[in-house]
Symmetry: C2
Subunit: 342 residues, 2 copies
Amino acid sequence: MRTIEMIDGVVKMIDQRKLPRQFEIVECRDYRALADAIKDMTIRGAPAIGAAAAFGLALAARESRAPTRDALLRDLDAAEKILRATRPTAVNLMWALDRMMRAARATNLDADGLRDFVVAEAQQIAEEDVAINRAMARNGAALINDGDSVLTHCNAGPLATVDVGTALGVIIEAHKQGKKIHVFVDETRPRLQGARLTAWELMQHGVPMTLIADNASGYYMRRGKIQKCFVGSDRVAANGDVANKIGTYKTAVVARENGIPFYAVMPTSTIDLTLANGDLIEIEERDAREVTHIEGVPIAPEGVRVGNPAFDVTPHKYITALVTERGVVVPPFAENLRKITG
Amino acid sequence: MRTIEMIDGVVKMIDQRKLPRQFEIVECRDYRALADAIKDMTIRGAPAIGAAAAFGLALAARESRAPTRDALLRDLDAAEKILRATRPTAVNLMWALDRMMRAARATNLDADGLRDFVVAEAQQIAEEDVAINRAMARNGAALINDGDSVLTHCNAGPLATVDVGTALGVIIEAHKQGKKIHVFVDETRPRLQGARLTAWELMQHGVPMTLIADNASGYYMRRGKIQKCFVGSDRVAANGDVANKIGTYKTAVVARENGIPFYAVMPTSTIDLTLANGDLIEIEERDAREVTHIEGVPIAPEGVRVGNPAFDVTPHKYITALVTERGVVVPPFAENLRKITG
């Protein structure tokens, strides 16, 4: 099934907190439950939470008893605020909400017509996400040679999107094309999306892989075991700086030091031209317990002080190219990003 | 108590696999039990396993029923082989065994005299380790300024030595000198020595600290939150290349990229002039389960393939200086290491 879908007014999503131990579907019947699911990372991954936010507004439209178009728009505005506040870094969330609200306002439909329209628009965003990911996968797979070993960080697979995936979509596509590849998977502390999700997805697709501690990627790079790095992205600034899962920055610096190309893969909806550079991107600080406990088991002294930034910013100088559904963007990024999004 | 000590023919050590949840003492009454304790990391840290190996030979001497000096030396040789095979990377293990066997052979004592001598020599190595660590702590603390935030990786504290510690000894000494410092502690996957041991030791000493995922250190470096890095070392080659806990290399590269001084702290017994460079150092590959399970809980799909190198090599160009008991060694390392060990 898809990572997230809306059927008969119910949003169903794979519970990503429980994989790989359990494959469970969570159902959200109102937008507040869906907002909670984004916040607690039942669903995560920049494109997936974009689609989730759109479905959140679709749920809000169906929940609302508003008799008029204006009253319904007010209810949607209220829901939109709740959904927008769930996670601050991935811009796809804001992008999807903006697109939904703009489209809703642009119609002249009555309340019932608008309800149906909002649901259809959310479905459209989800469908487009799959198509966009397929295009990215093809564009990126061309960068992978037969025999390459590639490194990926966090999870940018089908589970991070509605389907197909961004960085992992590229890798799986190269494998499907018959290229002999091997994937090094960073486990990605603190939430272990690499160990839990990426390893699982690659095993499902039969792609040869090795799971490693995040600390070990430099060891393999220095020994010539890694030819390319592919990561997803949560937000790209106008100059090509990339916000992505914490640890991406260290990995990119060490890749460049070893002459290894470093690619970030994202739909153009992840590109935020309103921000001149990556240091303007808000970085989410998450709960200390993500670091001090693993699966509920404490691994640090009680009462320890913790820093837990969920993302970091990789300056564009460490990035070889950005892979989008519209093509591969190379430096100078500021100029070429304007062109491709224009 | 000390990390390891020998009292009345019994070697007692703090069980480092159980901290910080339980403080337990393990007793070894024969050298094979002690070899197992090194292998399973009941005791770890380069200087501590040097002392442990010496105590292993002391146990072997006491166990042996050899009636003659030559027979006892043969028994010690047999024990030495078992102890030497426990862990391949930290040279202190080999250094302590070599010193013990050389000293034993250099005596003309009879079997009983040699037994007592071997025990005394092991005690001497442990005593010297504490004194050496105190000297390193003073030498290194001079590098830390009032107000500095420093990063450390893995555990190079009192627990990694007989007492005092190497990199963490430096940090604790700076704190004791009244300098206002803050420590960022990498949790250090896969075995989490930072979260479990370093955080615990710093809290015991009242040193202000923040525990972070290994992935997060680059984030704090880029934001100017870290002024210096201090790590221990498992082996230093003649050219100054440093083998240390996996992840040290990535951290050192990112530190240099951010203009942050990177110091490795070690007794001169960690310096191996027989190896021209760090790439000749054997790197221990440890069990996959260290990556796939945390505290017995699986965190990855069953049957996943794992890479688990326990150490990596940081080329000397990333290292600002090596802190030893005899002073701070700066580049050119090849020349200055020969001088300080000569």
